[in-house]
Symmetry: C2
Subunit: 253 residues, 2 copies
């Protein structure tokens, strides 16, 4: 049985998509069968994996609203072993479209069996909010991986995120656990990074991955080529950090 991991943080720009793309690629590179679900209407994960704009329907929106056949929404990527369910802008209207459905938080959950018997790892890239899309991800997930940028504002939002995880755990998804917090955009030259790191490790101890993702321009250049950084520049510090993170996740099991 596979594991469903939601990559979530309502703070914007903390590295959710970059983590989703590179973690799923690194997992596929160690022969795991991986699926990435793009739950963000911005579709950055879909773009970052090179899926053409004309090849994105049907995607997540149809999966949530129209119960389209599962295999129709899955796309292969250029990475062997990695598939994606793409997102489109239609997804941004979902809060209003599903508002009167009683099971609006369980739209993704209804596919959980297909997901965990079809793949070893399923990663879900969440949008920067704690709305219906993120709640769907948390309701279906086995665990939550939280990218945390080493900045003051990012730290401020952590409590609220953890409260939401607890609320979902107390409601729709009793087995939800934390996969861990991963520090992102860590900059050795900047004392703010080490202050945030010390603070977070003091509060969460083992709940924080040893692996830190350094600030590395190759990570932000790769998406413009439609490639994960691991393919764009394998030796880059950012790529190597995601490979280390995979080892840590697999080692923890």
């Amino acid at each position: 049985k596979g594991r469903l991991i939601a990559i979530a943080n309502q703070k914007g720009g903390v590295g959710k998509t970059t983590t989703a793309i590179n973690l799923s690629t690194a997992m596929a590179s160690v022969d795991k069968k991986v699926l990435l679900i793009d739950l963000d209407p911005q579709g950055n994960a879909t773009t970052g994996l090179g899926i053409d704009v004309k090849n994105r329907n049907p995607g997540v929106y149809e999966l949530f609203c129209e119960s389209t056949a599962f295999k129709k929404v899955v796309r292969d990527t250029i990475i062997p072993g990695l598939s994606i369910i793409p997102s489109t802008q239609d997804l941004s209207a979902i809060e209003l479209e599903l508002v009167n459905m009683t099971d609006r938080a369980k739209r993704l959950l209804q596919y959980k069996d297909k997901l965990i018997y079809g793949y070893d790892y399923i990663f879900i890239d969440c949008p920067p909010s704690l709305g219906l899309l993120t709640v769907n991800a948390l309701t279906a997930a086995n665990s939550v991986l939280v990218p945390l940028q080493c900045e003051f504002f990012a730290l401020e939002g952590l409590t609220q995120l953890l409260k939401t995880v607890d609320r979902v755990k107390g409601g729709f998804n009793k087995n939800l656990i934390m996969e861990g917090i991963v520090l992102t955009m860590y900059d050795r030259r900047n004392k703010l990074s080490s202050e945030v790191e010390n603070d977070v490790r003091k509060h969460f101890g083992k709940g924080v991955f040893e692996t830190k993702i350094p600030r590395n321009v190759r990570l932000s250049e790769a998406p413009s080529h439609g490639l994960p950084a691991i393919l764009y520049d394998l030796q880059a510090p950012g790529s190597q950090a995601y490979i280390e993170l995979v080892k840590e996740i697999l080692g923890k099991r």
Copy 2:
């Protein structure tokens, strides 16, 4: 009559809040009477201006949902001439709470007269989404200022944002105009920054401010002291850039 400027971009972490805090402070420092409205449930602008967590109710939520007396929701800040309407986490439930109200997009608009006759400039910090809160800001605003991070994913979302601005202009707010696009986190050492700059200036010409906000660690350190960067470190390149931006906005009028 004052001007109401929405600071919006659904892409996360592009510098909306940092721009809202420092632009409103710089405006107040040239003797304008300024109000900052924090429409983000994360409340980063409220924290960045040093408003104590216990002093945030009533705030924007009450203004939208309970028609609280306007003067009850306004707080002074330590900056002379700058006031703020704080936000709280309650705001994140607003999409669902207002869904059956016909005028749900006009909750802020109903206060427009009080705003433009009470202040010279009113800035609205928006959350990273194109949902009801941002639509409320666009419906009430005279203009939209778009912080654009010099990164590939940030560029991708721009078209969608401009479509939403056009939609609001075609519907609830016929007079809505672009105040301009401001490049943020510009890093001279990184060719991605100049590539994004060239691309944006080619497409939008005069619609892009001359002033660029450089990547500057002092901008991200200031909020942990509850101070705008302009007070925390006036000589820092980031602070100076926001002062230049104010001159450009005032000069344009």
